[in-house]
Symmetry: C2
Subunit: 202 residues, 2 copies
């Protein structure tokens, strides 16, 4: 009942396309250099098959993205702290942003392709809205912070795929250093709301 039963060749080809696209995008090189025809050839299907299954290029990218994002989403929704819902807001915010950063580090070309040529704004994508809504809600629980809606946008903007690519890929900033920098930045922002009765400096 989950979905209309689809013909088995359709399902098989869908998987083949996803696998092929996955491989092609993971391989080094600009995401723009991977054409739909390339994907079709690598998957051993015709172009028509891809477009029927995914609608357009952006659809394919989104589908791939969702697949890869699945584990992270699960960890966030039902996992243990600090990522899961049981964590305190002050711990969860940095954990969430770190998770996003790590995801983009692990899926640079894909995230890049999706954010750049992904049709319209990345801001209309529903996966962005998920992240934003969640982050906003968590920020909301921390009193004394500025507009949490904008703050959520701004913090997420620090993990934009092309920025990550620039820093990690272009400037060769090591993964752990980048994570630390983001963590510091987030910590700085969170520090603007006094943790308790405001006991101030050390």
């Amino acid at each position: 009942m989950t979905e209309r039963k689809s013909r088995k060749d359709a399902a098989r080809n869908r998987e083949a396309v996803l696998a092929a696209a996955d491989a092609l995008f993971t391989r080094g090189g600009s995401p723009e250099d991977v054409t739909m025809a390339d994907v079709a050839a690598a998957a051993g299907v015709g172009k028509g098959t891809i477009f029927r299954a995914f609608g357009d290029r952006a659809g394919l990218l989104r589908a791939l993205y969702e697949v890869r994002l699945e584990p992270v989403r699960e960890a966030v929704e039902t996992g243990p702290p600090p990522l899961g819902p049981a964590a305190s807001p002050r711990d969860r915010v940095p954990a969430l942003l770190d998770a996003v950063l790590c995801f983009k580090l692990d899926n640079r070309r894909l995230a890049l392709a999706l954010e750049e040529g992904g049709g319209g704004s990345p801001y209309r994508a529903e996966h962005y809205e998920r992240w934003h809504g969640l982050l906003r809600a968590v920020l909301e629980q921390i009193p004394g912070l500025a507009d949490s809606g904008f703050a959520a946008h701004a913090l997420l903007a620090a993990t934009r795929a092309d920025l990550v690519e620039h820093l990690a890929g272009e400037e060769r900033v090591p993964r752990e250093r980048l994570r630390a920098q983001l963590a510091d930045f987030v910590a700085g922002f969170l520090a603007s709301a006094p943790p308790r009765g405001a006991a101030a400096a050390e």
Copy 2:
């Protein structure tokens, strides 16, 4: 001696193209919908003329961007506080970011076109490097802040053209409200470094 003397028709056409492109990009509608042929037609020249004068689409966009950015750049480099060099770092950081935000609000479609289809990363553009270098230097002067290089990137990311477009264009957030939100966010971040001997909360 500023530049090789160019033929007067070349100069005239260059201006015509800039003016036409300016008008076309300012007019509502997606920047992608403005083709080079459109610009050529509007300017009353042939396509070849545009490509000879600006190299490629990105070159035209960059040239336009520079022209529009000129006043802001001057205000930043030689203007009065809080934008100019005489301002204290704590005042100048928010002023700089506000200036960037206002600029992008005033030039939404253009900034969008440049950041999206602008060839490669926006992070390799030299105007980005100017802003980043400047912001970084100013942040550097505020003791107690996290890595100023990354912080500069992160703060600038909050003014990304597509985010601005999303908030101001899509969600109809009024200009002044957006400025206030950014200002709050920046203030929050700056507050993480104690202004003086850390007199703490109010």
